[in-house]
């Protein structure tokens, strides 16, 4: 739960009513598209920016540059595990 993997926003949908039809972000990861609620985010992201998701809600918005730096840190982390032959499997 703790890893804050940034997901890229491919579209913003809704927005006709602040309460009843709030804006939501469509994000894509591994070819799977998913709607993400933005009520708890610091701001509405632009298409191409990234969001950090917790329990189905975007909690923070990242610019592309910030997200790429974060992703590079995570890739380095995965490489260390891989070198040590400890890259974990998904939960069984």
């Amino acid at each position: 739960m703790c890893l804050a993997i940034p997901m890229q926003v491919v579209a913003i949908q809704g927005g006709s009513d602040e309460l009843l039809d709030p804006e939501v972000a469509l994000v894509e990861s591994d070819g799977v598209r998913k709607q993400i609620r933005l009520e708890m985010a610091d701001r509405v992201p632009a298409v191409g920016e990234y969001v950090i998701i917790h329990a189905g809600f975007a909690i923070r918005t990242l610019t592309e540059e910030e997200a790429e730096y974060n992703l590079s840190l995570m890739r380095q982390m995965a490489e260390v595990l891989e070198r040590e032959g400890r890259l974990p499997e998904a939960p069984q």
Binding site: E18, M74, P91
Partner: protein, 451 residues
């Protein structure tokens, strides 16, 4: 004759990420086992080796971005320890201020967005409406107020400590900038708004939410465990610092500094779980998840902190703690009581924010003492929304990391979460019948822990 089977809840609807629940049923359709697998942070400890220690507080907040402030501050405290740096009082107060404000935002998210829909709309509700939008339709005024409050804490942090996305304000030896009097006044006004909201939220929950679930609060996922949290020397609830207090299921306890954690807690990896588990080594009974006789199992997070403290040092939260104890005793064991405890902590976090901003030392310009890179060991602890968070680093002569160990809040709660899910599943499922409503209730037992 029906065969044994496994029912999986994956992903648990609002417990996103890599959580997965498997419920094993035997030939007669009774629950033979139930397991929660949760992926937690792995690899960070190897990744940081060789890096300059003062970089870690800035890196960890990018990787552990769900609770960036908690990791940032636990890391900065661990670096203080490695370098033997002692922050001036105002440096500590400013760090604590950022931490309690971050708690406020997290608790509003959890209660109103993740937990309240179950309660307000009922666990039998259709999932398509049993979410925040269902809540908005049923309680539009409340939802509008939550919407106004939802970002206030984040905005407060951003205004004072720079962008809240990746905290960098804590530094070895203290805090990176002093607070101006104008900033203090503005933040103090916002803090009062949040405190009003917190009091309203708890009143609302007690009146309209918890009162409808009296039985479930005590029974759903109920297990008997010990508890771990932090207190000051007088036994008051603490979030930013303090002694760790490890309470046994019978309510007796031992206090120890976080730097002694390895004498009391031990970590274990079960083959079926992706994350390590932690148990109370100092009880001398080992570790067992046998539901009939669990051993070494304790819980962290809101309910644990309210159970271990003798009292809360702020008046509204203290009055609420007294009311809570009068109803549920000490230690309270009901798993859904985590939600109630979470709202009492929300009141405390708001009161503590007001208190810190009224402390005349908060605008003192001396916020940092020089810290020199050197060899040492530092153990940083804060109470994060999800429980006791420990960062333990060792450095070499150049101040680079040679060893790191992290225990994150959710890790402590994985063992009790497994017991709670097993209990909930066993009490709800008979004859192999697993309805949506039953799965929703099992989810509620997990959601209380806010994994």
């Amino acid at each position: 004759m029906p065969k044994s089977q496994v029912v999986s809840i994956h992903p648990v609807t609002r417990i996103e990420g890599q959580a997965r629940v498997d419920i094993h049923l035997d030939e007669s359709g009774r629950v033979s086992d139930a397991r929660v697998a949760i992926s937690a942070l792995r690899g960070f400890e190897q990744f940081v080796i060789g890096r300059p220690a003062e970089e870690i507080p800035r890196i960890v907040s990018r990787i552990c971005g769900i609770c960036p402030w908690m990791h940032h501050l636990a890391a900065v405290k661990a670096v203080d320890g490695c370098f033997g740096a002692v922050p001036p009082p105002t440096g500590q107060l400013l760090r604590e201020l950022c931490q309690v404000i971050a708690h406020i935002h997290d608790k509003i998210l959890h209660f109103f967005f993740l937990a309240a829909p179950d309660f307000v709309l009922g666990p039998d509700g259709d999932y398509s409406v049993r979410n925040i939008m269902g809540l908005v339709r049923q309680e539009p005024e409340l939802a509008a107020r939550v919407a106004r409050m939802r970002q206030l804490g984040q905005a407060m942090l951003a205004r004072f400590a720079g962008k809240s996305i990746h905290p960098v304000a804590g530094v070895a030896g203290g805090f990176s900038k002093p607070m101006l009097e104008t900033e203090r006044r503005e933040l103090a006004a916002d803090a009062l708004v949040l405190l009003d909201f917190a009091s309203f939220a708890l009143d609302y929950a007690k009146r309209s939410v918890f009162s409808r679930f009296r039985e479930e609060l005590q029974s759903l996922g109920a297990i008997t465990t010990g508890f771990l949290g932090a207190v000051d020397a007088q036994g008051n609830l603490r979030l930013y610092d303090g002694l760790l207090r490890l309470m046994r299921p019978d309510g007796s306890w031992v206090d120890f500094p976080a730097s002694d954690y390895e004498r009391h807690l031990a970590e274990q990896v079960e083959p079926w779980s992706y994350a390590k588990m932690v148990y109370a080594k100092s009880w001398g009974e080992g570790f067992s998840l046998n539901p009939a006789a669990p051993m070494g199992v304790y819980r962290v997070n809101t309910l644990a902190r309210l159970n271990v403290c003798d009292q809360v040092a702020t008046p509204r939260a203290q009055a609420e703690l007294e009311d809570f104890r009068a109803q549920f005793g000490r230690p309270a064991q009901g798993t859904l009581l985590y939600h109630w405890a979470r709202l009492i902590e929300l009141v405390y976090a708001c009161e503590r924010t007001v208190e810190l901003l009224a402390d005349e030392r908060i605008t003192d310009p001396l916020v940092r003492t020089p810290a020199e890179s050197k060899a040492g060991r530092g153990i940083g602890h804060v109470e994060a929304p999800r429980g006791t968070l420990i960062h333990d680093y060792s450095t070499d002569d150049n101040g680079c990391i040679t060893r790191a160990n992290l225990i994150v809040g959710t890790t402590h709660n994985i063992a009790p979460m497994n017991l709670s899910v097993r209990q909930a599943a066993a009490s709800l499922i008979c004859d192999g019948e697993v309805s949506e409503s039953i799965l929703n209730r099992i989810e509620m037992a997990i959601r209380a822990y806010d994994p």
